[in-house]
Each structure stands twice: as structure tokens, then as C-alpha cells.
């Protein structure tokens, strides 16, 4: 029964927190542009309006299945992500499983966009996958380094280890370089400004979202909420000591997303190969240095 509650509640909490994160993102951007920014329930309005669209255009069965796969993938990822109070299935599948489950929605979106038969979408997906290859290398190094220090890939265990000695045993304290390298990679994962090459409105008309309208677009907005939440929580779980209690946990997740979002709005957009070169130079370098330190211990 406890598991049933976890399965239902964890995605719901993820969605709601995600909405707040999206709202925070748009508010921060507005404030930077000296604007008032959207009202409080704006993300909800957007999603409801998109789902309430009277005409829904689809480009084939795969287009629909991709949305289903998208939502299913992220809901599964939430269930394997331990949050204070809810353990979910984190025991059954560990960190490596989570990394791979987070790739399932990406593949689902890619297949859906491909079936829209629009080259803007295909170019967007090709850039998105290249960006994924770029930021996943430093991320992998960071994750390997983390699991090396903690000795286990069981997320619940990792959180417990970090909380034993309070702030001192947090991931960022024990392995600062890995945390920094990891954060730069996580910033890439958010897919915002400096690495926003695959949404690139001016060049490829929002890339993958070019043929998404109505409830397809609504599902993508939901994915954005889940994405911000999942990546934020993953980083917090690995390097910021996971959640002892809800308020502190939410503050940490908000902090992770806030710094990234704040940085985002002052940058232009990197070209695809610049993204790859940058990601494989700085974050990977820092993370490898951290890994070397970890291995030395």
C-alpha cells in the first residue's frame, strides 16, 4: 500500500514543484529584463489552455506514442528518485538505472519529432542528441566519482551517507571539483540559454516543438516541469546531501535551478560544435581532476 501511495504521490509532487520551478524561471527572466513577469498560475494556465485546444493536429501514431512515452518515462524517473518521506522504488533500481531511464523520454521525444516529417524538428533533435553527448561525458565522470566515494549506487544509501555528518559530509564538501564539474554538466542538461541550440527559435523554429500543438505542446510543457525537477533533485541527491526535510529540500532544489536560470539569461547561444568543445574542455577537465583526487584517496 505504501508503495501505491509513493507511485501516485511522487510524480504529483514532482509536477507541482516543477510548475513552481518554471514559474521561478520565467519570473527571474522577467526581473532581469526589468519586467513584471507572469502571474502566479501562469504555467498552469498555459498547460490547461494547451490541453483545452479544440483542434489537435497529429502526424501519425508514432507522434502520439512519443508523447505517451515522454510522460511515462519521466513519471518512472520520478518514482526512482528518493525524496524526503518517499522512498519509492529507489531500492529496486539504482543510480545507473535512473540515468538510463532519463534517456527513455529523450528517445521518445526524438521518435515523435522524427515522425512529424519536419526538417526543423529533425535538425533540432540531431542538435539535442549532440548536446546530450556533450554534457553526458562530464556528468558520467561526476557520477562515477560520486559512486566511487560513496561506494554504492543505491540513492537512498547515498543520501543517508551524506546526512550522517551534517554539512561536512555533503557531496560538495567531500568532492568540490566533481560537484562543480557536475553542476556545469547539469546546467547543460537544463537545455537553457548557452546550450539552447536545439530550441533555437530564430534558426529552426523551436526545433523539436515545431509541429507540436495543443495537447502535444502541453505534454512538452509538463516535460519541462519534470525535467527541471528531476535534474535539480538528482544534483541535490548526489552532491547537496539529499532531503532531510521538505522545506530545506525545496530550498536546495530551488537554489540549484535558480543559479542555473540566473546565469542562463545573460548568455547568448553557443553553436553546436562550440557546445561540444566547451563541454568536453572545462566541465570534463574539472570533473576528471576531481575523479583523479577521488581515485588517489
Amino acid at each position: 500500500m505504501r508503495l501505491l501511495a509513493d507511485i501516485v504521490l511522487m510524480p504529483l509532487i514532482a509536477f507541482i514543484t516543477g510548475l513552481f520551478l518554471v514559474l521561478m524561471y520565467r519570473r527571474v527572466r522577467a526581473k532581469i529584463e526589468r519586467r513584471v513577469g507572469p502571474p502566479f498560475f501562469q504555467p498552469v494556465y498555459d498547460i490547461v489552455k494547451l490541453f483545452a485546444k479544440k483542434t489537435q493536429i497529429s502526424h501519425g501514431v508514432m507522434h502520439d506514442l512519443s508523447i505517451v512515452l515522454l510522460l511515462g518515462g519521466y513519471i518512472t524517473a520520478e518514482i526512482f528518485l528518493p525524496v524526503p518521506g518517499f522512498k519509492g522504488l529507489a531500492e529496486e533500481g539504482d543510480l545507473l538505472t535512473l540515468i538510463y531511464i532519463m534517456m527513455v523520454p529523450m528517445l521518445g521525444l526524438a521518435l515523435g519529432v522524427g515522425s512529424c516529417a519536419n526538417p526543423n524538428g529533425s535538425i533540432g533533435i540531431s542538435r539535442a542528441l549532440t548536446a546530450m553527448l556533450a554534457y553526458d561525458v562530464p556528468l558520467a565522470v561526476a557520477i562515477i566519482g560520486a559512486t566511487m566515494t560513496y561506494g554504492t549506487t543505491n540513492l537512498v544509501e547515498i543520501v543517508r551517507i551524506q546526512q550522517e555528518g551534517g554539512m561536512a559530509t555533503w557531496g560538495i564538501a567531500t568532492m568540490p571539483l566533481l560537484a562543480i564539474g557536475g553542476y556545469l554538466a547539469v546546467h547543460g542538461m537544463f537545455g537553457k540559454e548557452p546550450f539552447e541550440i536545439y530550441i533555437a527559435p530564430a534558426e529552426i523554429a523551436t526545433g523539436p516543438m515545431v509541429e507540436m500543438s495543443g495537447k502535444y505542446m502541453g505534454a512538452l510543457f509538463i516535460m519541462q516541469c519534470f525535467q527541471l525537477y528531476t535534474i535539480g533533485v538528482l544534483y541535490v541527491t548526489l552532491f547537496l546531501g539529499g532531503g532531510e526535510n521538505w522545506p530545506l529540500f525545496l530550498i536546495k532544489v530551488a537554489a540549484v535551478v535558480f543559479i542555473s536560470v540566473a546565469v542562463t539569461n545573460v548568455y547568448g547561444r553557443y553553436r553546436t560544435d562550440k557546445v561540444v568543445r566547451w563541454m568536453w574542455k572545462w566541465p570534463t577537465g574539472i570533473a576528471l581532476l576531481g575523479l583523479a583526487l577521488v581515485m588517489a584517496k
Binding site: 483542434t55 533500481g93 542538435r127
Partner: protein, 622 residues
């Protein structure tokens, strides 16, 4: 007459059967039935082989050496793979695809020969019979590759040269062992290996690793496999891809891991760098994982892309086995099984596309999802398996390999493995996008779905991949038998997966939750919004431009331009140039020697030389 003899008898009957009445239509189905019977026979022998091994009547003694065949756990596992792969290949070839092929009789015959040769190899009793089986497998594969003629022949010729060089290295290794131990039995070799000098150990390990590595297309010898396997006709190339390249892995496991023992290999140290022999081999496997995968990324032909991935996946299996822990070996062997299922499904799907559209060039296909949905489903299941994503079985074995690498603390190898996986994800998406997604080209307008006789085996393979992905315990029971025979530590596992202290995986939960979540996603999608309306592919956003079928509006050529700009300069093909260097060296020295035979005045030079020699001898000697 033990089970092994039944197996050999089936193979012989099959060859004879195809020889005599291979022509008429039903031959394909009959062959399929026999392969099925073989598979059942092997499965039945599982119990008996779990403990010891099944002797076979086949055996003779020549020049004072007794040669015999028997089946142990490892042999059983690979025989099961061979029979399974042959069963699906013949099922595919028996249907309409086979009737449309010229010279189908020879293909059936060659498939039967290949299966017989592989059975002889994997159930070898001693080193000599191992070599006999090895040669037969190499030549049967050569015949199968060269059978189609045209561009296949230079590829087959290149393969034959590599394979024979490898075989000669193996022969030299075997004879050295015989010279040292006096017999060809594995146990004598194992016993004597410990006492050998490190120089001899290096020599033997080097010879066997190089010899078997050629067939497995390990890094320096990997150039031949892609062209050779993709030029073979459809069903047999699926068979070759799924199983034939793994014969090299079988022999490597048998000799390096089971006979020599990983601990002995770990003992040998490379003088300069701090690597041990095992470490060196693991790094070769790591490079074999990454570099062929990124070569595959740049291919424009579907079959070449898949064969390059075959080489890459070989690296994973070897890495898993070399880790040596129970988890790693099980991961490696399970990856052999998983790879066979999804690689065969992928190849059969690509062959179905070739059967219908006539081309496998990724730049001239697109949008076939509306015309060939079931082939699309198979290819999708295949690429999810190849990329190693959760619902399919590819993920389980990769997870186990990663887990074992983490346990053994080799972080940099794990980074290579991870980069290899990412490269795979990128290139498999390019494969499925360029063939099935995107815009349907006008000339493929009339394409129909592949016939059921071709779709059924594909879906069956995909189904196996999904079921063993959901309940990996089924496949792990098979690998346990092989692990026991290999002497690797036992791996405790349930039906869902592996539960270790430092991180466990239970695929039953992972996949079930995924399906439930997808169900929930479907509910959200289908019930919340209005009913969807399907539009034709020209009703698309093109910046206000009116789309027409004549103007191609598809992005598939050079699919990752950004990445190509970064890693493009790294493809210098240094190994290809090395190979060409050897080729020119051979030609130049050949011309030199041939020149000598066209000299006119040899007798004169000879006379002069002898007179001088004589003068020296007489002056000095007297």
C-alpha cells in the same frame, strides 16, 4: 549416442538434405524444422551439462594424438546461440525473401555448413580439435561471404587473409603448448601454464589473444568485419553478425580465462606502463567499444552502421568477461545472448527494408513508418536493445558490466563504456530516423509492409529481447551454466535481476513501473485533450512556404554536422594506412623477387661467387 552426437547427426543430415533437394520450395521450411529440433536438443541437454560434460563418439587419433569432442557448459551456451540464430535465419529465409533470392540453395547449404563448423568448434575437446573447428568456421564464413560475388569478393578476400593470419598464430600457439606439455588437453596446458617463464606466457597469451581477436575484430584487426558482414546476403549476414563474430569471444574465454586463468594474466606486467596483461586486454576492449561506435556514427549505409556496432558491442562482452567477478562474467555472457537477439532483429529489419525499397542507403530512404509499421516496431525494439535502454534486455547486461566495473574500481574504463553507449544512442537514432521517420519519398509511395514470413521472425526476436529484458532471470539461468563451466564465481540472482550490497537492479519493477507510467501517460494524452486529427505530411510548417512532393524537404544527409565538425579531424584512419603499408610492402618485395628470376646472367654471377668463396676457403682452410 550422447546428445552431442544427436547434434552432429542433425547437422550432417541437414547438409546432406540441402545438398540433394535444396531446390524445391519446401527445403527452407524443412531446414527451419531441423534447426528447431537442434535447438530443442541443446535445450534438453541443459540439465546434463550443468554438472560435467557430455562426451561424443566423434573422435580419432592420428600421428599418436587422440582428438575428441565433448560439450561443457561454455560449449553448450554457444551451441544454443548458434542453433537459435540458425533457426531464425532459416525461418526468415524460408519465406518470400528466400524465394526472391538468386541461388538460395547455396545459401541454405552454406548456412548448414557454418552451423556444423560452429558446433565442431564450440564443443572441441582439446586444443587440436579446437584448431580444426576454428579453421572450418573461418572457411565456412569465407564461403558465405564470397557467395554473392561483386563487391562481396574483395571484402571476403580481406577477411580470409586476416582470418588465416589469426589461424596461423593460433596454430603456432598450440604447437608451442604441445612442445612444452607434450599433449593437447586443456588441463595439461592449464597445469603447465603456471610454471612457464613470463616470456613464454607473454608469447602464448599474445598469440592466442591476437589469433582469436582477429575473428572477434578486436581493435587493431577490426577493419575487415564491417564490409565483409554487410556484403553477405540478408539472412546469412544476420546469422554471421549475431553469432559468427562471437566464436572469437568463445575461444578467447576458453583459452585465456578458463585455461590460463585471469589471475595468471593479471600477474604478467607490461614493463613500461603499469598495466598487466589483463589490463592491456581490457583497454583494447575499451577502445574496441568506443572507436568503432563513432565510426558507425559516420556511416551512410544501414548495414555498415550495424556491423560497425557489432564490433563495438564485442568490446563490451570482452570487457565484462575480463572483469572476472561473478557479476562481470555474467554481464559479458548475458550481453552475448542479448546482442544476438537484437542485432539479428535489426539486420532482418534492414533486410526487409532492402527487400521492399531496393536500397539501404540512409540518404535515399525516409518516412517508411507509414508503409512498414511492423518492421518499424522491430527496428525500434532492436535499437532500444542496442542502445541499452531499460525496457529491453540490452540494458540489463550493460548495467551488470557497469556495476562490475564500478565494484572493481576501474573508473576510466567505465567512462569509455559510457561514452560508447552515448555514441550508440546517437547512431541508432540516425538509423531509425533516416529510414522510417521524416518525409516519405515519392518513389516509396507504393511500398507495402514486408510479408508475414519475414515479419514473424523479426517480431519473435524483438519479443525475446523484451521478455528477457523484463525477466532477466530467464537468460541469467542460461549464463549460469556457462559461468560454472568457465570456473567464474557464481552469481546469485532472482527472476528480476541482481541484488548486490552496493546497488541492485530488479527489472520486473523497473519495466512494470515503466509500463504503468506509460499507461498513465496514455490516459492523460487520450482523455484530456480533444480527439486528434491526422494530417498529411505536406501540411507542415515551412516558414509560410507551400510544400510540394517534388521538392525534397527531409534532413537526413550528414545527420550530426555539429559533432562532425568537432570529431571529424580525429578520423585519420591510421590503422587503415598501416594495413595498406603492409600490402604495398608485400607487393614491392614480390616484384623484387620476381625480378631476380628474369636476370639473364645468373650462372655467371654464381660462378664468380663460388670461385671467390673457393679461393677464400682454400687460402684460409688449407
Amino acid at each position: 549416442m550422447s546428445e552431442l552426437d544427436f547434434l552432429f547427426a542433425f547437422a550432417a543430415v541437414l547438409i546432406a538434405g540441402v545438398m540433394c533437394c535444396g531446390r524445391d520450395g519446401r527445403a527452407g521450411w524443412a531446414a527451419m524444422a531441423v534447426y528447431g529440433a537442434m535447438l530443442v536438443a541443446v535445450m534438453a541437454a541443459a540439465g546434463k551439462v550443468a554438472g560435467g560434460s557430455i562426451p561424443s563418439a566423434l573422435g580419432f587419433s592420428v600421428l599418436g594424438h587422440k582428438i575428441g569432442w565433448r560439450m561443457d557448459g561454455l560449449g553448450w551456451f554457444f551451441s544454443m546461440l548458434t542453433a537459435g540464430a540458425a533457426f531464425f535465419a532459416s525461418w526468415y529465409a524460408a519465406g518470400e525473401w528466400g524465394r526472391a533470392q538468386p541461388g538460395m540453395k547455396t545459401q541454405h547449404l552454406l548456412l548448414a555448413l557454418n552451423v556444423a563448423a560452429m558446433l565442431l568448434l564450440v564443443n572441441a575437446g582439446d586444443l587440436l580439435s579446437l584448431f580444426i573447428g576454428w579453421e572450418l568456421v573461418s572457411w565456412a564464413a569465407f564461403a558465405m561471404m564470397a557467395q554473392k560475388g561483386g563487391p562481396a569478393q574483395p571484402a571476403a578476400m580481406r577477411y580470409m587473409i586476416y582470418a588465416l593470419a589469426g589461424a596461423m598464430a593460433v596454430l603456432a600457439g598450440i604447437m608451442i603448448v604441445h612442445a612444452v606439455t607434450g599433449s593437447f588437453a586443456y588441463k595439461d596446458f592449464a597445469a603447465a601454464f603456471g610454471a612457464m617463464s613470463s616470456g613464454m606466457k607473454w608469447l602464448l597469451a599474445g598469440l592466442f589473444a591476437a589469433g582469436f581477436g582477429v575473428k572477434m575484430a578486436l581493435m587493431p584487426f577490426h577493419l575487415w568485419q564491417a564490409a565483409a558482414y554487410s556484403e553477405t546476403p540478408g539472412a546469412s549476414s544476420a546469422f554471421l553478425n549475431a553469432v559468427s563474430a562471437r566464436m572469437g569471444l568463445f575461444a578467447l574465454i576458453l583459452v585465456l580465462v578458463k585455461v590460463m586463468g585471469l589471475s595468471a594474466l593479471a600477474g604478467l606486467h607490461v614493463p613500461l606502463i603499469g598495466l598487466s596483461a589483463k589490463g592491456l586486454l581490457m583497454w583494447i576492449a575499451a577502445f574496441t567499444m568506443v572507436i568503432p561506435t563513432f565510426i558507425a556514427l559516420m556511416q551512410t549505409d544501414a548495414r555498415m552502421l550495424l556491423t560497425w556496432h557489432g564490433i563495438g558491442q564485442g568490446g563490451y562482452m570482452l570487457l565484462g568477461v575480463l572483469v572476472g567477478t561473478g557479476l562481470g562474467t555474467a554481464g559479458g555472457l548475458l550481453h552475448v545472448f542479448n546482442y544476438a537477439t537484437y542485432q539479428m532483429a535489426l539486420f532482418l529489419a534492414v533486410t526487409a527494408v532492402i527487400h521492399r525499397t531496393g536500397t539501404s542507403d540512409l540518404d535515399r530512404l525516409g518516412g517508411l513508418i507509414t508503409r512498414m509499421p511492423w518492421t518499424y516496431v522491430t527496428l525500434l525494439m532492436g535499437i532500444i536493445g542496442l542502445a541499452g535502454l531499460p525496457p529491453m534486455n540490452g540494458f540489463v547486461s550493460k548495467w551488470m558490466i557497469y556495476r562490475s566495473l564500478l565494484d572493481s574500481g576501474s573508473a576510466f574504463l567505465l567512462i569509455f563504456a559510457f561514452v560508447g553507449t552515448l555514441g550508440t544512442i546517437l547512431s541508432v537514432y540516425k538509423l531509425i530516423h533516416n529510414i522510417f521517420l521524416g518525409r516519405l519519398r515519392p518513389q516509396h509511395e507504393g511500398v507495402r509492409e514486408a510479408p508475414w514470413s519475414m515479419v514473424a521472425p523479426m517480431l519473435a526476436l524483438g519479443g525475446i529481447g523484451f521478455v528477457t529484458g523484463w525477466f532477466p532471470g530467464l537468460a541469467l539461468n542460461l549464463t549460469d551454466i556457462a559461468q560454472a563451466a568457465m570456473g567464474a564465481p557464481e552469481l546469485p540472482h532472482g527472476l528480476g535481476g541482481v541484488a548486490t550490497a552496493r546497488g541492485s537492479l530488479n527489472m520486473i519493477w523497473v519495466v512494470s513501473i515503466l509500463l504503468v507510467a506509460i499507461g498513465f501517460g496514455a490516459i492523460v494524452f487520450y482523455f484530456l485533450g480533444n480527439r486528434r486529427y491526422e494530417v498529411n505530411q505536406l501540411n507542415n510548417y515551412a516558414g509560410g512556404h507551400f510544400l510540394s512532393p517534388q521538392v525534397p524537404y527531409q534532413f537526413s544527409h550528414e545527420f550530426y554536422p555539429g559533432l562532425a565538425r568537432v570529431i571529424g579531424p580525429w578520423y585519420r584512419g591510421s590503422i587503415v594506412r598501416a594495413e595498406q603499408g603492409i600490402g604495398t610492402l608485400l607487393d614491392v618485395s614480390g616484384d623484387l623477387w620476381r625480378g631476380i628470376y628474369h636476370l639473364a646472367w645468373t650462372p655467371l654471377y654464381l660462378l664468380a661467387a663460388t670461385v671467390i668463396a673457393l679461393g677464400w676457403a682454400i687460402m684460409g682452410g688449407m
